[in-house]
């Protein structure tokens, strides 16, 4: 799908030709400038993912606020001076933190999935947003350019949940806790909870911790 380009590392530009295929859904309030005849409409409950997704979000608190961008023209998107990472999905599954999602093709579906009970204690949430289908997705990486880390069956990966922005591929995700008596007396290393990925895929992290 043509029409997506980066004006600078921090600004995503999308050309809309008026067809359904060029329409995008973007994070609410992420438009910084546009030309042409473009309309912005709240994608409704569930970020346009349907009633089921809306219900799940209501229950899980994984809030995804998206707006539908349609029409004919050129739109510039940016959030918090973060770096933009554009990914092409060809039937793959992208898991992402909802606040790190900048924009996605209208043809992609979003849903909320359960990632594991132990997430409750890390505060990062037990649920994650999944994006499936064919199209393009833009993620936001705060604090600097995103870093892609390869995961293979031989090399599992552990990341800080606060800097995790998304992952693509067949990956099993689990929480690792390292709580001992030291945490109780306030002498922790600050890395008590981490996310462990096993399988085959790519994990994206940002230089800033949320």
């Amino acid at each position: 799908m043509a029409g997506w380009r980066l004006e600078s590392p921090r600004v995503l530009v999308v050309d809309l030709d008026g067809s359904k295929g060029s329409a995008v859904r973007a994070a609410t309030g992420s438009m910084v400038a546009y030309e042409g005849d473009v309309s912005f409409k709240n994608a409704g409950m569930g970020g346009g993912g349907g009633l089921r997704a809306a219900l799940k979000q209501r229950v899980t608190g994984e809030s995804l606020n998206l707006m539908e961008v349609t029409g004919r023209g050129t739109v510039h998107f940016a959030v918090g001076a973060g770096y933009v990472l554009v990914l092409d999905l060809a039937g793959d599954v992208l898991k992402a933190e909802s606040e790190g999602l900048l924009a996605l093709s209208d043809s992609l579906r979003t849903d909320v999935t359960f990632t594991g009970l132990q997430g409750a204690s890390s505060g990062q949430g037990l649920f994650t947003t999944t994006v499936t289908g064919h199209g393009q997705v833009a993620l936001i990486s705060l604090g600097g350019p995103p870093i892609a880390l390869r995961v293979s069956p031989a090399t599992p990966l552990v990341v800080d949940p606060d800097s995790y922005i998304g992952s693509v591929g067949r990956l099993q995700q689990s929480f690792v806790t390292d709580v001992s008596w030291r945490n109780l007396i306030g002498e922790s290393s600050g890395e008590a909870f981490s996310l462990r990925f096993e399988g085959d895929g790519v994990v994206y992290i940002q230089p800033e911790e949320r």
Binding site: R10, T28, G29, V32, A33, K41, N42, G80, A81
Partner: protein, 222 residues
């Protein structure tokens, strides 16, 4: 004359007698040579910088939100402010630049600046624009030849406006513009916004005319 970019966030200015530099107070990072800094007073007869009594009045009304200082003597000065990105714009004197007072890092003192009350420019609509968008009711207008250093969160990109090409900008992302442009606020506040289900793009700035708009990659104010 002119600013040289040292990094994306720091500019270097050369100061000579007759080529003084006005900058936001406290933005000096380092200096070499014989350079003196003095505050630019807002009152009448305040050193001759800043465009006279009318603009002094403007500043007084503005509450002097962004005090300036002048660098005189001969030497070099490094300027930067709170790690924000800096954009250097060269003006050839043919068209003026309008910039939010708090977005201005430094400019050549040879340029004349005036604080414009928005209500004066666009009537009541202008005043409404300032109030609605939270941009403030005053903008600084710079005219003449020289270079200007603008502050932004995440850097700026320039959009050309001309003829039938009209550009719409998010008020929080707007930084400055050059040329003869009309900036109108357009509010398309519907019932969706009232119930908190808006797209977050209810208030927009419509820019028309002939010129260039500078937009930053963030919706954060400085």
């Amino acid at each position: 004359m002119g600013f040289t970019k040292v990094t994306s966030k720091v500019v270097l200015a050369e100061v000579r007698p007759g080529a003084e530099v006005l900058a936001r107070r406290g933005a000096m990072l380092a200096t070499t040579g014989q350079v003196r800094f003095s505050p630019v007073s807002a009152g009448p007869g305040g050193g001759g910088y800043g465009g006279g009594i009318a603009s002094a009045l403007g500043r007084a009304m503005q509450g002097e939100a962004v005090p300036l200082m002048v660098a005189e003597g001969s030497g070099t000065v490094h300027y930067g402010f709170r790690g924000h990105h800096v954009t250097v714009v060269e003006l050839d004197g043919s068209e003026p630049m309008s910039v939010e007072a708090d977005r201005l890092l430094a400019h050549d003192a040879s340029m004349s600046s005036s604080v414009v009350f928005l209500g004066q420019q666009g009537g009541l609509r202008g005043a409404v624009r300032g109030a609605v968008t939270g941009q403030g009711l005053f903008t600084t207008q710079l005219s003449g030849r020289g270079s200007v250093a603008l502050l932004s969160h995440g850097g700026t990109f320039a959009l050309q406006v001309g003829g039938s090409r009209q550009v719409v900008v998010d008020p929080q992302a707007y930084v400055a513009h050059t040329g003869n442009l009309r900036v109108d606020v357009s509010a398309s506040v519907g019932w969706r916004d009232a119930v908190g289900r808006g797209s977050g793009e209810a208030v927009q700035l419509k820019v028309s005319g002939q010129g260039t708009v500078y937009v930053q990659a963030s919706e954060e104010k400085l």
